[in-house]
Symmetry: C2
DNA sequence: AGCATCCTTGGTAGCGCTACCATAACTGTC
DNA sequence: GACAGTTATGGTAGCGCTACCAAGGATGCT
């Protein structure tokens, strides 16, 4: 009778006995098969198969002080932005044996710090963290984590190890410039609650308008000053950061307050959908009277009538490249360039095509496609 | 010189030495403080604080054969449905010390089976799994997992331990009935790729129409027969299950094919948005000429013009109740009722209000709210 | 007082794996 | 053919924690 209840599952010692080798050789074969001769490898593989042996990950973790867990920290689960990033991460994890521990930081540095601290307790294989605005304590912990650390969805000059993302400032700047170039003068900015990255986009908006001598602070519409995620209370009547209802209300309010508004740049696509419906309800012609642009380029932007312009950002790619970088490093590869700029794309569609140039240009195409 | 490089972090032995007690007493104090006398507890707590001791989770896992990891399996990250469920789970995990390992099964039973198998290798604290359609092998593994197992987002008669969700069949049935009651006769059904739960909703739709002698298979519009998630190839040009563009195309096609169509029940809100824009583009009056209903009740349904009817399902609550049930069980509580039906709500809005009854009924309310 | 019972505390012996070192076998060089 | 250098294999000793058992002291009862 054993003193301790064992799992009953075969252990590495069972495999070693059956294959007639030392336990350490089995361990070595499982992790670095090339270091074991072919003959032994074959008999070990056979023993593993016959016993249906599966290594115990906890024992491995204790002995090696390293797990297979990639810790991912995202600020929010509400927005599809991060589901796309996560999809990229999951599509990159396949067949790697890595597991993903997902943490929700709720846009709170304090929660993020605590989660990083907790995560380091079990020696993660790697850490993927959203944004570049970590607290000094978090940065220090991450710098000393002893594993790959990838920051994503933003850019900065001094990443902890590596950052993969794009410039929110430039994205805001370029879309605003597009609106100006399309002939709109009084360009509004709509947003829900703003995080650090939203603020960069707002700064880009402001800069573009200031450069054109068109900036008017009165045209900035914002709802929801609190960070609904960071608070622990009132979980049930949870608020989202940006909703279509907010976009509608912002638009209706702006129409009343500033009927001379010519275009709105929405910090989030979902706001732009709400704004569009508000204009529909008031029979305001889009894009002739008022132009609309969003941010993120979710799929419904293209389907809208009129189709809505937006800034396409590479969410899936961002997550996927981060995971690929992690795997590359875990396989012994180098870190590569510390800053990877994935860029973005200004999607010019009917909703900002004030003078019908887009349609005119497209006409021949459409004709061709019908032939 | 130690034979093995230790972490350098204080261990339980260091704490025990400092507090002048046995290591096991420290361990006991950390896990079940009530079993240790107050005097010793105080000095142990002091030692923990002074040394900044943090237990090693991997060692704990190896010795106790149980981790703090709750394994969550969802079929998709694409749809906001599951981000809401996840939010509920995360809102329930706070301050529990539990960690979440998120797996994406891609609507594939084979992948799900493999992930459950892998997850059980590290003795999870609990498992939360979407749906009730597990393979026999998966069911067996889960039944023997030796930890709480909660199935969510659907119902069945024989849960593995406990199921928390709602009836997709009844939801489909009730919404279709609502359309019939609103005066629509030729009611279409739009869907993208369909999973088991979507099929239940379709069955509800069909049943309601058959009961009213109105079923017409020609009015079912569907796009995307493949399961884009289960395949491993072509990850980059990834398709979503249901998109607004699909909804638009389905609507345009239906208008051409069956101009007599009177209403559409979309299996997903995002399809209904596309359908609405398609009708806008053809100047078809909603809800007078054609009614539209969706499923999920995302926030933009209320903001649309006209506001879109939908089936509100309790995604957040589903995730949250699952997590609460897990914690209750881990704290030694009982499993409770094996089947928890969270129900759903038919949100009647302007898009299905063919005869203006809703508006008429609301008028007094609106007047009151202005006073 | 004597005995049974409960509660608190500690010692021992692993959990299943891998790091470190040692050894043996093989290779190539002069 | 002797030597160094390389490669393949194994033994030992933990990694840091907790399950199990035992012992001692306190309590309650007859």
């Amino acid at each position: 009778m054993a003193k301790r209840i064992s799992t009953g599952r075969p252990t590495i010692a069972d495999v070693a006995a059956r294959a007639g080798v030392g336990a350490i050789t089995v361990s070595r074969f499982l992790r670095q098969p090339e270091k074991v001769s072919e003959a032994l490898g074959a008999s070990i593989a056979a023993a593993v198969r016959e016993l249906n042996y599966v290594p115990d990950l906890n024992a491995r973790a204790l002995a090696s002080r390293r797990t297979d867990i990639v810790v991912v920290l995202v600020p929010s689960l509400t927005q599809n932005i991060f589901s796309d990033v996560l999809r990229g991460i999951y599509d990159g994890v396949e067949d790697s044996g890595l597991r993903i521990e997902l943490n929700n930081t709720r846009y709170s540095s304090a929660i993020e710090e605590q989660q990083v601290h907790a995560a380091l307790r079990h020696g993660p294989a790697a850490i993927i963290i959203s944004g570049t605005e970590q607290t000094p304590a978090t940065r220090t912990m991450l710098a000393n984590a002893g594993c790959p650390v990838i920051q994503i969805m933003d850019l900065c000059d001094d990443p902890i190890q590596k950052v993969i993302g794009f410039s929110h400032f430039r994205a805001g700047l370029d879309m605003t410039q597009h609106l100006i170039d399309s002939g709109y003068r009084r360009v509004a900015f709509f947003s829900g609650w703003m995080n650090a990255r939203s603020k960069q986009r707002l700064l880009g908006y402001r800069t573009a308008l200031e450069n054109a001598n068109l900036f008017d602070p009165d045209l900035i519409g914002q709802m929801g000053n609190e960070n609904p995620h960071a608070s622990r209370g009132s979980i049930k009547d949870f608020h989202q950061f940006s909703t279509a209802v907010m976009g509608r209300e912002l638009m209706l309010d702006m129409l009343d307050r500033r009927p001379d508004v010519e275009a709105v740049f929405c910090n989030n696509d979902v706001l732009s959908i709400g704004a569009l419906f508000a204009l529909h309800s008031r029979n305001v012609p889009v894009p002739e009277r008022i132009g609309i642009a969003g941010f993120n380029d979710f799929d419904y932007m293209e389907a809208a009538y009129p189709a809505l312009s937006s800034v396409r950002i590479h969410r899936w790619k961002c997550g996927n490249e981060a995971m690929m970088a992690v795997r590359h490093q875990l396989d012994g590869g180098d870190v590569g360039p510390p800053v990877v700029d994935l860029g973005f794309e200004i999607m010019r569609r009917a909703s900002t095509d004030r003078h019908g140039t887009l349609q005119a240009a497209r006409q021949p195409e459409a004709a061709l496609s019908l032939s």
